[in-house]
Structures are given as structure tokens and as C-alpha cells.
């Protein structure tokens, strides 16, 4: 409602401006146009189980805009944030951003299912879309699109980093994964790696999403006596599992390992029940963070009085890449922005990271972390163990070859 009022007000102002300008020179008109805001859409969860994640993503994107002085191409930036409650509504919201809000690009999409639905609109309407979550392989694989870019590492890349750690703990592995695209992706990727790391599968449970009670699953795991449990549960489901894992006395008995977790999963659970080894995109306490990332952390801490989660980083990085590409394109033309995103490169880390031009996947190592034995700070839960890869060549290799990825990138 407020936005509508603001729009109406700016419209009236613009009309008044045009009337006043009729006697003035053309340069004045150009000036008025240059103050017209550039609108960018955000699609992050506002309600339901994903609301906390949505909030961190949005704050990250917002921070990137603030750090850019709220301007791009010398014009003010206006962010329009819509909800990501499920694939259908996310898709409709994507359409709404384009039709009603006239956005030049969209940043968002935490869930693979929503992301895939939003991609189809981005493709049809030819609007750049930067996905800040959504780990399913097909997004930059067989369903890849010219207008979609993704910041998060795919499931196979993250599993490749995790499995050597898992096999160091023990050889008998039990899987507990969510029974949808993401969980199935994890099972597929880890089974392919089991032989390579010399481990065997002693049990698997594919758990329906939105399961509140895990006690029966935990009893099963206990009976199977694995050396390590590899998980693929998400959000509230994962937090519930961790809580009950601790409640049933398993925390110090069988180690738990997983990928694609986020800090809030642990902040929700608390220090008492948190345990395990994980792969995440980023961690605020990683000493290898770049100067820009450290500044982002400091700015975030100052503004919200808490540290940024990895989702903040994703929202921030996605928005930064977009703003830098719009600047480089010197225009808001979709094709020009896509071309610049394909050339975009960040050279702040030990080796550059970028969106690969043939699948639009951000090629950048993730970080492997372990929950501290003693957590003294209510935000700092992890020790950083290492990165999933340590050189440019290894990183690129981990993200797979054209044949492995299977993206057939359409023409612009």
C-alpha cells in the first residue's frame, strides 16, 4: 500500500515536473529521467518455516545495495521484496515483479523447487535471475537457462568435499535424507562417492518433509550401529532432528555429517544440542574471509547487532554481482546484463571466482566446518576445518565437466 502511494506520489511529481519543464531545455528532462529508480526484485520467504532464512537473505541483498550507496548507473535503486512460500506462488510473484513492478532483474530463490518454477518465467520474459540458494544439480545442469545464475554450490560438489571427512570417521555410513529432489540428489551423489572413499552403506531412511518427530528413525539408526550418519534434512526438519538426536543421547555416540546447512539451523537449536561436521557456503568467523566480506560482517553486526549467517552472504554476493554487472553493462538491458554477468569475476579471494559462462554456476569453494566441543559465544558454533578445494584448478574440476553437468546453454 505504501509503495502504491509512493508510486502515485512520484507519478504526480513527475507529471508536475513535465508541466513545469515544458518551457525548459532538454537537459532538464534527461535529468528527471536519470532520477527514475532502477527496480530490482527480491523473492525470499516472508512467512512459514523459511522466514528466518528469507530474512537473512534479504538483509544481505539490502546491505549490498546500501554499500553501493543505494545507486546504480547513477540512479536510485528500489528493491521490491515478494514472498517465496511455494513453487506456484513464487512463480506468480516472479511474474508480478516483471509485469507490475517493471524490475530489471530478480535476486532470490532459496528452494530448488521454487527456483525451477521462477526460472521458467525469467526465461520467457528474458529477465536476469540470480538464485542465492537452491542446490539441486539440474538448475545449472539439464534445466540450465541463459537468464539464470546461481551462487550456491551444487549437491555433488558439496558431497565431494564432505565424503573424505566422513570416511575418516568410519566406514559404515547410514543415510537419513529428505524425500524430495534435494535429498535424492544427496543420496545419488554420496552413493557414487562411497566406493571412492572406501565406505559402505548400512542403512537409509528417506524421510517425508515436515516430519516433526524423529525418535523412531533415531531408534533405527541406533539398531544399525553405523560409524557415521550422513544427513540431508533441511531447515526446521533438520533442527528438530538435531534436538531429538541430542535428547536420545546420540550426540556424543555417532557423529553426524551433512551439507547445505545454514547458521540459523543451529542458532534455533541452541548450543546444547548442536553437533556434527558440515559443508556451508561461507562462515563469518573464517579467517580466510576477504576484506570485503569482513566489511560486510562488520556493517551487518553494526546494523543488526548480530553476525551475518551464510544466507546473508549469499544474498549479499548475488546482489553485488548483479549491481556490478549492471554498472559494467552501462545499461539495464537484460541481454547486456546477462553478458556482463557471464564475464563477472571477483578477484578478492586467493583465486578468482565467477559464474561459469557455459552453465552459469558460481565456481567457488565451500567451507567445511565442525561444531565446536565447547561453544562459548551464542553465535559462533563452528571451527573451520578447510575449504572444499584449495586451488583454482581443483575448484573448477570439482564443479564438473560439460559432459558431467549436462547443460546445453541456449543462445541469448
Amino acid at each position: 500500500m505504501m509503495r502504491m502511494n509512493a508510486n502515485r506520489r512520484s507519478f504526480i511529481c513527475a507529471m508536475a515536473g513535465v508541466a513545469a519543464l515544458s518551457g525548459l531545455g532538454l537537459s532538464e528532462v534527461a535529468n528527471a529521467q536519470s532520477n527514475e529508480p532502477i527496480r530490482i526484485g527480491l523473492i525470499y520467504s516472508k512467512q512459514g518455516p523459511g522466514a528466518a532464512i528469507g530474512q537473512y537473505l534479504q538483509r544481505g541483498s539490502e546491505l549490498a545495495v546500501e554499500q553501493a550507496g543505494r545507486k546504480v548507473l547513477g540512479r536510485p535503486i528500489e528493491l521490491v521484496w515478494l514472498d517465496e512460500p511455494n513453487p506456484q506462488v513464487s512463480q506468480q510473484n516472479m511474474q508480478r515483479l516483471i509485469d507490475e513492478n517493471k524490475v530489471v532483474a530478480v535476486v532470490g530463490g532459496n528452494y530448488s523447487s521454487s527456483a525451477l518454477a521462477m526460472m521458467s518465467v525469467a526465461n520467457r520474459e528474458k529477465i536476469p535471475l540470480i538464485l542465492t540458494g537452491a542446490a539441486a544439480s539440474e538448475i545449472t545442469g539439464k534445466s540450465c537457462s541463459r537468464y539464470t545464475f546461481r551462487t550456491q554450490a551444487t549437491v555433488p560438489v558439496q558431497m565431494e568435499g564432505l565424503m573424505p571427512y566422513v570416511s575418516q570417521i568410519g566406514k559404515k555410513v547410514y543415510f537419513i535424507t529428505a524425500s524430495y529432489a534435494f535429498g535424492q540428489d544427496i543420496l545419488r551423489a554420496s552413493r557414487a562417492l562411497l566406493k571412492k572413499v572406501g565406505a559402505t552403506e548400512v542403512g537409509v531412511d528417506e524421510v517425508p518433509i515436515n516430519t516433526a518427530d524423529y525418535s523412531s528413525y533415531i531408534l533405527k539408526i541406533r539398531q544399525a550401529k553405523p560409524d557415521v550418519v550422513v544427513g540431508g534434512l533441511v531447515g526446521g526438519d533438520f533442527s528438530n532432528f538435531l534436538k531429538q538426536w541430542n535428547e536420545m543421547g546420540m550426540k556424543d555416540k555417532i557423529p553426524y555429517a551433512a551439507i547445505a546447512v545454514t547458521d540459523t539451523d543451529f542458532w534455533d537449536v541452541g548450543t546444547q544440542a548442536s553437533t556434527g561436521i558440515y559443508v556451508k557456503p561461507w562462515y563469518f568467523k573464517n579467517t580466510k574471509n576477504t576484506e570485503a566480506e569482513k566489511k560486510m560482517s562488520a556493517d551487518f553486526q553494526k546494523k543488526y547487532n548480530e553476525p551475518p549467517s551464510d544466507k546473508t552472504w549469499s544474498g549479499w554476493m548475488g546482489m553485488r554481482a548483479l549491481l556490478e554487472s549492471i554498472e559494467a553493462a552501462k545499461s539495464t538491458d537484460a541481454k547486456a546484463i546477462v553478458t556482463e554477468l557471464e564475464k563477472w569475476k571477483n578477484s578478492e579471494e586467493a583465486f578468482p571466482f565467477f559464474f561459469r559462462d557455459w552453465d552459469h554456476q558460481m565456481v567457488r569453494p565451500a567451507v567445511i566446518v565442525g561444531v565446536k566441543k565447547q561453544i562459548s559465544d551464542k553465535w559462533d558454533y563452528f571451527d573451520v576445518l578447510k575449504n572444499t578445494s584449495e586451488s583454482a584448478a581443483d575448484t573448477e574440476k570439482a564443479f564438473g565437466t560439460k559432459e558431467e553437468v549436462g547443460c546445453n546453454m541456449p543462445a541469448l
Binding site: 518455516p49 522466514a51 524425500s179 518427530d213 531408534l219 533442527s239 543421547g249 537449536v269
Partner: protein
């Protein structure tokens, strides 16, 4: 094999009691007021949050204060909103209480933020009890005890106190009860408050088991609706039997066919609805015909 069965059945029974506790408030609200309260889950979450907040101020007595507070909130909601739904089309109460659920969830998010809140069992209830093949956590044993005590207290209250008799009579023949000089609207306000307080007790007891977040009720309340449908709308006894059945069926399905775990309780509901459309102990009520 027998060990596995025994252990999962026992676990299912405990889980079933938690479902009963969530379901019983829902069942009472429907049985006595004729309102299907979709916001029951929101009061469940509100109970957990109230306990978390009051715990910072008062320590463990908060687990008692929280349901009382939520009961009072429920009474306020009854006076302002729910009262207008009595005797109206059931669809109206579904829509209004659904909106109420969304509103309360949004208010929780507004007041406490979108993140979850860590909530652990008290230190003396941490640990497990192992008897042969049985493994139950101390906390779940405590939940079992608290649930049974709550259910017994409630049953005694409805069955043996004059107030309980008024409630039961009022739900069947409100006009006659009013003719006897009883202030029925005030009684109904208390009933709705009681239903909300029961949801809050369940929320408080579930808080150390399930993550305390604004949408925490979503996964817990669906089984409660299934339990009420199986047991028979408004039947106290039905809710208990159905809750235990759902708990055991879910546990055993997880053991033998985990991918069907979520569907198993719906399959049970389907089978029972086919055989007894009113649910196991559902009675024929003229006002709902």
C-alpha cells in the same frame, strides 16, 4: 525382531500421548462450542513462546504460567471474535480461525523475530531410560506423566464437577441451560480459554523436543486433526484411543517402510472413515446433522 517391535511400539505410544494432548483441546473446543479451531496450532506455538519469555523472568514456574496466560488470551479472542461464529455455518468458523492462525503466527514473528528460540529440557530430565529393548528418554517419560495427569484432571473436571455438568449440558441444549439461569456466554468463553490453555500445555511440553519457531505448529497440528477425525469429533475417549493408534502406526511404519511414514496416519484415517464415518467414538449429534 521382537525387540525392535517392542521398542518401536513403546516409542509410538509415547509419541501418541503427545498427539493426544495436542488433539484434546481441539476436540473439546469442537465438542462443546461446535467450532473447528484452525488456530489451535497457533495457540500451541504461543504457549511455547510464552514459556520461553516467562522462563527468562521466573525460571521453571513459567511452564505453569504460560498455559494460564495463553488461556486468558484465548478468552479474549472468544469474546471479540469466536463468539460471533456460534450457530453459524461451519465454513465460516474454518475461515475465521484460519485467518486467526495466520495473524497469531505473524504477531509471534513480529514480537520474537523469525528465528527459532533454543529451548532445552531441564537438566534433571536429560538422559535416557533403558529397560531391556526399551529406550525412552527421561524427558519423554516426564511428558507422558504430565499428559496423563492433565487428561485425568480434565476428565474428572468434566465428569464430576458441577461446572463440567453445565458445560456438557450447554453443549447439547444451550436454551435449556440458559432457562435454568446459567450465564452460558460466560461458560463458553471459559471453554474456549480451556481449549487454548490445553494447546499451550502441549506447546510447552513439545518445546524441548521440537524447534520453537513461529511456524512450529504446522507439523504438529496435522496429526492432531487426524487424531480428532479418527477418534470422533468432540469425543474425549476417542481422542485418546486414536492418538495412541496414530503414534503406534507411525512408529511401526517408520521401522518397516519409512517412505510411507507420513501417509500411514492418513491411511488409517481413511480406513476408519470408511467403516465409521463419525470416527471411532463419534456420536450422533442433532446440532451437527
Amino acid at each position: 525382531m521382537l525387540d525392535t517391535l517392542v521398542s518401536q511400539t513403546a516409542n509410538g505410544l509415547v509419541l501418541g500421548f503427545i498427539y493426544v494432548l495436542i488433539a484434546v483441546g481441539l476436540s473439546i473446543t469442537f465438542g462443546l462450542l461446535g467450532v473447528i479451531n484452525f488456530a489451535h496450532g497457533a495457540f500451541f506455538a504461543l504457549g511455547a513462546y510464552a514459556a520461553w519469555e516467562l522462563f527468562q523472568l521466573f525460571g521453571w514456574p513459567a511452564v505453569i504460567f504460560a498455559p494460564v496466560l495463553v488461556g486468558l488470551v484465548g478468552m479474549l479472542v472468544e469474546v471479540t471474535i469466536i463468539r460471533r461464529l456460534y450457530g453459524k455455518e461451519p465454513l465460516l468458523s474454518l475461515i475465521v480461525t484460519f485467518a486467526l492462525a495466520l495473524l497469531i503466527e505473524a504477531l509471534i514473528r513480529f514480537a520474537w523475530g523469525a528465528d527459532g528460540k533454543p529451548f532445552n529440557p531441564p537438566p534433571f530430565l536429560v538422559g535416557i531410560v533403558e529397560i531391556g529393548p526399551l529406550l525412552i528418554t527421561k524427558y519423554r517419560v516426564a511428558v507422558l506423566g504430565a499428559t496423563i495427569a492433565t487428561l485425568l484432571g480434565l476428565w474428572a473436571f468434566l465428569e464430576w464437577t458441577p461446572y463440567g455438568r453445565v458445560l456438557r449440558a450447554g453443549s447439547r441444549d444451550p436454551e435449556m441451560v440458559e432457562l435454568l439461569g446459567i450465564n452460558l456466554p460466560r461458560v463458553l468463553t471459559a471453554v474456549f480459554g480451556l481449549g487454548c490453555a490445553l494447546a499451550a500445555i502441549a506447546g510447552v511440553l513439545a518445546a524441548p523436543l521440537w524447534t520453537v519457531s513461529p511456524s512450529m505448529a504446522a507439523n504438529a497440528v496435522m496429526p492432531a486433526f487426524v487424531v480428532v477425525a479418527i477418534g470422533g469429533l468432540g469425543s474425549f475417549r476417542g481422542a485418546v484411543v486414536a492418538g495412541l493408534a496414530v503414534g503406534i502406526v507411525t512408529s511401526l511404519t517408520i521401522q518397516f517402510k519409512p517412505e510411507a511414514a507420513a501417509a500411514s496416519m492418513y491411511a488409517l484415517m481413511f480406513a476408519i472413515m470408511l467403516l465409521r464415518p463419525r470416527g471411532l467414538f463419534g456420536e450422533r449429534w442433532e446440532r451437527f446433522e
